[in-house]
């Protein structure tokens, strides 16, 4: 992934493109993420029930692929699901995985920073 693809993944998203965290069908927590950077932050604060709900519905991968256009991030999230973890362990794994990818993309944008 080059600089332009990285900037596309890291862009500020519209309201329609943002990720909205739910805890179950139709139950919106009020927490949303309008960029990958915000997504990383929100993983730390949202209820773990919400992370479980979306992970096991493949919502994160779908968003990574269709909105952020980042297949690599989608693959990495998929690998988190395959661990079968829940609760705090899921939050830690997901946070670490998404943060790592976010930092990698940031480096692609400004390789000397």
């Amino acid at each position: 992934m080059g600089g332009s693809s990285a900037s596309r993944t890291l862009r500020k998203l519209s309201r329609e493109e943002a990720f909205y965290f739910f805890t179950s069908i139709g139950n919106y927590t009020g927490v949303s993420a309008s960029s990958l950077e915000e997504f990383v932050e929100k993983i730390r604060e949202v209820n773990t029930k919400s992370l479980e709900f979306h992970l096991y519905r493949w919502d994160f991968e779908k968003w990574a692929t269709e909105v952020l256009e980042d297949e690599k991030l989608a693959e990495q999230i998929k690998s988190v699901r395959s661990l079968g973890v829940t609760g705090g362990a899921l939050r830690d794994q997901l946070y670490f995985t998404v943060l790592k990818r976010y930092e990698e993309l940031k480096r692609q944008l400004s390789p000397f920073s």
Partner: protein
């Protein structure tokens, strides 16, 4: 029937006609008149006047969708809103085909309560996640999927039972 500004004052016969129509809107004027002990022309006049003044809004058909094998789910969606955006949200919700009823309620917070119908849980969730959650001023959403309907009746008919 007397009109005082926008409020109509109905007499006992008007109320009886309305209750008769709510029980069965396909009854003829003659049948209603016979039951209430008045001429069919009286029933006709009263009904026409109530239609003209918008007291009778429409005649509709209640279809039992289960009987025709239609797959659908109904949910009651409570949307917690920023008070400044509440009117806009109610208006936008009313425009969606998935939403069949919309109410505003003021409890501890300003709420919009809407009845939503979708083909299945995935479509319901997708509608709420992609069309409702992104509306400006939506703070949180609580949704309850209805699993069984125990009663559906009109207020006038229930009130009549209370009075007797």
């Amino acid at each position: 029937m007397k009109m005082k500004s926008q409020i109509a004052t109905l007499d006992e016969l008007d109320w009886k006609i309305l209750r008769a129509l709510q029980k069965n809107a396909r009854q003829t004027y003659t049948e209603i008149g016979h039951r209430l002990g008045v001429a069919h022309s009286t029933v006709y006049d009263r009904i026409r006047r109530m239609e003209k003044h918008g007291i009778i809004k429409k005649y509709t058909t209640i279809v039992d969708l289960d009987r025709v094998g239609m797959r659908y789910i109904t949910a009651i969606m409570t949307v917690f809103t920023d008070p400044k955006e509440s009117e806009n949200i109610a208006k936008r919700l009313s425009e969606f085909n998935e939403v069949v009823e919309v109410f505003t309620s003021l409890s501890e917070e300003l709420l919009i309560i809407a009845k939503v119908v979708a083909e299945d849980q995935n479509k319901l969730h997708s509608f709420i996640a992609h069309s409702v959650a992104p509306l400006p001023g939506v703070l949180r959403i609580r949704t309850s999927i209805i699993t069984r309907k125990h009663k559906e009746e009109e207020f006038l008919i229930e009130r009549e039972k209370l009075e007797h």
